[in-house]
Structures are given as C-alpha cells and as structure tokens.
Symmetry: C2
Subunit: 235 residues, 2 copies
Amino acid sequence: MEPIPPLWLAPPAGARTASLKTLLTPAHRRKLAAIATRLELRARMPVYQADAQADSVFIIGDGVIKAVHDLPSGRQQIVSFWFARDVFGLAEDGRYVYTTIAVTPVTVYRLPIETLRRVLLDDSYLQFQFLTKITHEFRESQRQKLVLIRRDAVGRVAMFLSMLARQQRGAGGERAGGIAVPMSRSDIAAYLGLTLEAVSRATRRLVGHGVIAIPERRVVRILDPRRFEQLVAKI
Amino acid sequence: MEPIPPLWLAPPAGARTASLKTLLTPAHRRKLAAIATRLELRARMPVYQADAQADSVFIIGDGVIKAVHDLPSGRQQIVSFWFARDVFGLAEDGRYVYTTIAVTPVTVYRLPIETLRRVLLDDSYLQFQFLTKITHEFRESQRQKLVLIRRDAVGRVAMFLSMLARQQRGAGGERAGGIAVPMSRSDIAAYLGLTLEAVSRATRRLVGHGVIAIPERRVVRILDPRRFEQLVAKI
DNA sequence: CGTCATTTTGAGGTATTTCAACGAAGGTGG
DNA sequence: CCACCTTCGTTGAAATACCTCAAAATGACG
C-alpha cells in the first residue's frame, strides 16, 4: 500500500555477516512491501491478544517485542523476544497463540495472511527465503531451550546476554558501547524462569566478579570475554 | 530411489484430527519418495554428529529420535525429541547443530538437501506444506520452552507427559493402554533439565497421589485427568 | 523536588542437587 | 537355562541455590 523502506531481510546497514541466503532482492522486497501495512507502536502496546483470530503475520522493522503466556495465577511467562527483521504471528488453527506486546517503541509491518499465502505460493523463491527465515527462528528457539535447561541463575543470565550479543551481531549492531539490553529485569526474569531478585543478584554477581560492567542503564559491556564464555558454555 | 510406503505427512492411520493443511497429495508424496532413501536404525545408533557437514534432511517414518547437545563437562542435554513424521536435520551454515541419536529402533527417510531444495523451488505447493510443517515444529519448540520455565519437578514431568500425550493424539495413536513413554528416565531428565533422581521422585509422587499409574514399563496412564490438567496448567 | 517504577539487598523457607547405595530389568554368553 | 553384567529405576540424607517476604536505594519523570 505505502512505500516501505528497508523491509524484511534487507541487508542490515553495516552487517558483518551478510549471509546471502537471507537476502531478498529489491524486487522481492517490493513485492512484500506492496502487501504490507506499517504500524508504529509505543512501548507496552499490544500487537494482538492470544486466541484472537489470526489474520496477519508481522515483520518487525525496528524495536523489540515480547510474546507472553498468561498463567492462571496471573503471572506471566515470556516465551520469546522478537527483534528487527523477525517474523512473528504465525497462527495455530487460525488463532494467535500468545499475547504479543511492544517492549520498546516499534515499527512493525503487517501482512494479511491470505495475501501473503498467495504471494508465497506464486513466488517459489520468495517462499524459500521465508522458509529459511522461519528455519532460523526455529533453530534460535531450540537454542533458547538450552538456556532454560540450566539451573543456575548466573549461567542463565550469562547465556541470555550472550544471546542478545549474537542477535545484535547478526543485525549489524555491534555497538561499541556494549550489549543493548532493552528489556527490564522483570522481563528477563519472566523469560528465564527466574524471579526478578534472582536475576538482579546474578547480574550483580557478574559485575562483582568483573566479568561484565554496566556503563549505563540497559547496557552491558563484557569486561572479561574469556570468563564470560566459560560461564556461557560451562556445565 | 526405492518405493517408500506412507511417507511424511501421509494421513496417519486412524488419525482423529486430519488437519487438511498437513496432508500431502499422493503425487506429492511420490515426489518426496523419489528422492528419499530409507534408513533403518537400531536404538542408540547416531544419525549424524554435531558439526558434521549437513548434506541431508531427514523425515522420521517411525520411532523416536533425540537431538543432543554435548557439554564440555561430558554431560549432555537433550534439545528435542522427534517423532514419526517430524522433520529434522535442518542445518546452520551447512553444518548440523546437534548430535542426533535413535532412542528406539527407527525408520528415517533421508533427503539430499540440494535435491530437496530443487524440488521445493520447483513445486510451490509442496514447499508450502513443508513450510507449514516447520512452522508446526517451531511452535512446538516454543511450547516446550514453557515446560522448561517451570521450577517444580512434578509440574515439569506432568507437562512432559502431557506433551507426549498430545503428540500421540496428533499421530492418531490414542492408545487405550495409556501414554507411551519410549525414553528412559535419564533421557527425560536430560530433556527437562532435572536430575534423574528428581524425575524419578516426581514420577513416584504423581503415582503416590493417584494422578497417574504405570501399568507397565514405559507406559503411563492418567488416572485423575482433572488433577493432572491442574498440575499441567498450574502456577 | 516529590512520586512512581525499577533495582538492589537481606534473611529464612523450601525445593532440587549431590553423593551414596540398593533393587529391578534386560541382554549376553557359557 | 542360568549366571553374569550392564542399564535402569528407586530411595535416603545432607548441601546448595533459588524462592518468598520485606525493605531500602536508585533512577525516571513530571
């Protein structure tokens, strides 16, 4: 509908590892852009609710989004964080599975599911890019399970930071300042299956041991990559 | 190459929920069969090793397979169990990510990755079925994260059993005898991020409270579905 | 500068891990 | 067919780590 700037899978500015298979041609990008609607959401705004009729798939242009699973007790677990260029909103039996909420201000592109289906069926190469992307996210989900299997809070937090670092490396955002941590402690806790306090203590312990530093709010810098990697791999 | 019986996504005999979108036409099945090689593996045999050159994708005809992540300490975590009709062996940068081992005797179909790619690019509908399948597995992986977020051993084990039940329901194997649990306690432990002892104790507690029974080795029957579901959903 | 949200710190309770030992089941070879 | 052995499963007791409850400190924002 409207002209859309660098859409999904466009080479991120300054990306180190521009894996060819994740690049779309300009023609393909135009094709997706043509069926997409851009949405701007402020932090804390929901994109859709769990169990709602699923009529669209979304691609993140910029920002961070969380998928939330509500428990009967009112507590909520975070199933996943999605970042720029991630696809989310894949439905199950025509309904969304998790409630999805903006963590930071975000730009998302909304693709009507039926239109997308037609476009993908019509363009086998574009569909293959899509398949590749979903496969990536699938693998990432598998990797995240390894984080959750760990029992120790310090290890989980270290792996979480490592995950963020890799995500930002892949997106070309190898920020000199350190790793951006856009989410709150309690979001991290809800994601790692720990309490907020446990996350805080684990973080503090990492700082205390000189493994990381927190130069500013929501930024982490690895001071001792060697020990940090040990913590990530350990056990 | 060789004629292959009911291949991937064929309607499982007696399936209750034969969701249309997961069904392949006979023509499509033949297409996949034509490029597949059948392998028979005994329990404990590896399918491939982590980091090995990835030249094939696999589809399980029958049996159970586990994907294993080896830790420096020699311990190993189980990232995933794969069942009949599941696809596995999706590579990252041309290499397999996890070591994959048969849990039971299995039949797997091996599809050379390049050939598969050609076939999928050539047949947009077949590729869409494939995309749908991977999306399913992706979602299942997300759901498994919810199991791992839980802290209590009893809850994790209950959710694990619930997962097995759903898997078998989907595969049309609503066995009157109960839920088949093809893997050992230590496999379950390595999957749930618990110790073998904790899994044993949790199971025993479920039996002790009359929630489940173990009529025979590797079979679990739900005695009290109400309380069982409470345990699964709880917290 | 006051208020609210976030983060940190403290102390006790509880669950799982660890370490150790025993019992049961299945497979192999004589 | 039985003995032997390996794997699997169960149970016990102490140590550890996280959770819970509580409160203070820090940072963001009007």
